[in-house]
Symmetry: C2
Subunit: 214 residues, 2 copies
DNA sequence: AAATAGTTACTGACTGCATTGTAAGTTCTC
DNA sequence: GAGAACTTACAATGCAGTCAGTAACTATTT
């Protein structure tokens, strides 16, 4: 028989401390990428040594996973709201997010960098992003179908492609905006493209490129 | 007085050897990212030591720059063709590229990973991507203006946002496709979105989202 | 055409730094 | 006084870049 163990609760301020670390990690990973962002630098920002961070999170890989989860939860842009906006409202929310994102390049960059990095070999964030995009595409598709229903039309086969495209423009514009803020209007362009794509679903017209493509 | 120097040409096979290295580097950087892709692994693929690679390219940073330039030149997708396609032809070319890209995930990934990584602190590829996007946006904008002219309409103010958006969807779709090839149709979605955006420029309609946004 | 000088294309060994993770010890708090 | 929240010190890699040396090739000279 081994002796009984008393796990002993974490101290009250620890939760806040962990959040500080996650916040700092998000910043550093955003600025320098996951592979290129050392634990020591994150530790500096919260007045700790890198060993302290490992005490809390076990490994750098697990830290990344928790950073991504944290960003999701604490994020203003949480699309997965409970009030289930009735179709168009979701797209308005996306556009609003693009506008507010113009004021926080740090988070935009973190997202852009980490999502692209996640497709590399052995990256611990991959599962998170796979899942996230699947969920988001589903939500966008639902919103599109709701808008179709409102207008009394059958949801067309283009819904799936449109959903992926909506998320894609937003992400792609972020990269261009980060590279050249003077020449890319993140929010305005997002708005324009989302309008264009939603319109093409609700009220399709013949392609201006002809139909003789592959 | 210093003695005169005889620079002596490089050997005939060296150019081919350098190309082998660039090709291997593109693969490795694509699979693992620039920061996470060691020179030794590139060297292995061409039966060399990493010192040999440094002999040819001087440093890892310079290798990246040359890899990016190399990809541009040798790339089938070279949009900057000389024949100057008369508007719609450029978009058809983009769509065709998306189709052929479905057969070469390696290159797609290299591009996606390296472009996002380029926005991180101190990345040597940044200037390249800044420039590339500027050039590409200009070409797309020209094509859109040409299409407007063909139809006898003034080019609207939306051209700039549309140009950025076209490139953005293509890039964004690539990331989603790399994460989940089973559920994202790279080419079909690109086609759909490009159609939608071009149509929105040529023949704008009222936003389905209302006009009361920020 | 043979000898020779200079240069290229490397290799192998090494340096030095950066970085993740671990282990042992310290203090503070439940 | 036991475990939580650390720190300091260290182990263990991994990696870019340097350097000296070597073989092979090119260019020049004889």
């Amino acid at each position: 028989m081994t002796a009984t163990r008393r796990p002993s609760r974490p101290r009250p301020e620890t939760l806040a401390r962990r959040r500080e670390i996650l916040q700092a990690a998000l910043e550093i990973f955003g600025q320098k990428g996951f592979n290129n962002g050392p634990l020591a630098e994150i530790a500096d920002q919260v007045d700790m040594t890198h060993a302290g961070i490992l005490h809390h999170f076990g490994s750098k890989d697990r830290l990344l996973v928790e950073v991504l989860r944290y960003r999701d939860e604490s994020d203003v842009e949480g699309l997965d709201e409970q009030h289930i906006p009735g179709g168009a409202e979701l797209f308005r929310h996306l556009v609003r997010t693009a506008f507010s994102n113009e004021a926080r390049p740090g988070i935009v960059q973190a997202y852009a960098v980490l999502s692209a990095e996640s497709v590399t070999e052995g990256n611990p964030g991959r599962a998170y992003f796979e899942d996230r995009y699947t969920v988001l595409r589903g939500e966008v598709a639902d919103a599109l179908r709701a808008m179709c229903a409102e207008r009394g039309i059958d949801a067309p086969a283009t819904v799936a492609n449109a959903s992926a495209s909506v998320l894609a423009v937003m992400d792609g514009l972020q990269v261009q905006w980060l590279l050249d803020r003077g020449n890319v209007e993140l929010a305005a362009a997002s708005r324009f493209a989302i309008d264009a794509i939603v319109t093409a679903v609700l009220d399709p017209r013949p392609s201006p490129l002809g139909d003789d493509l592959p």
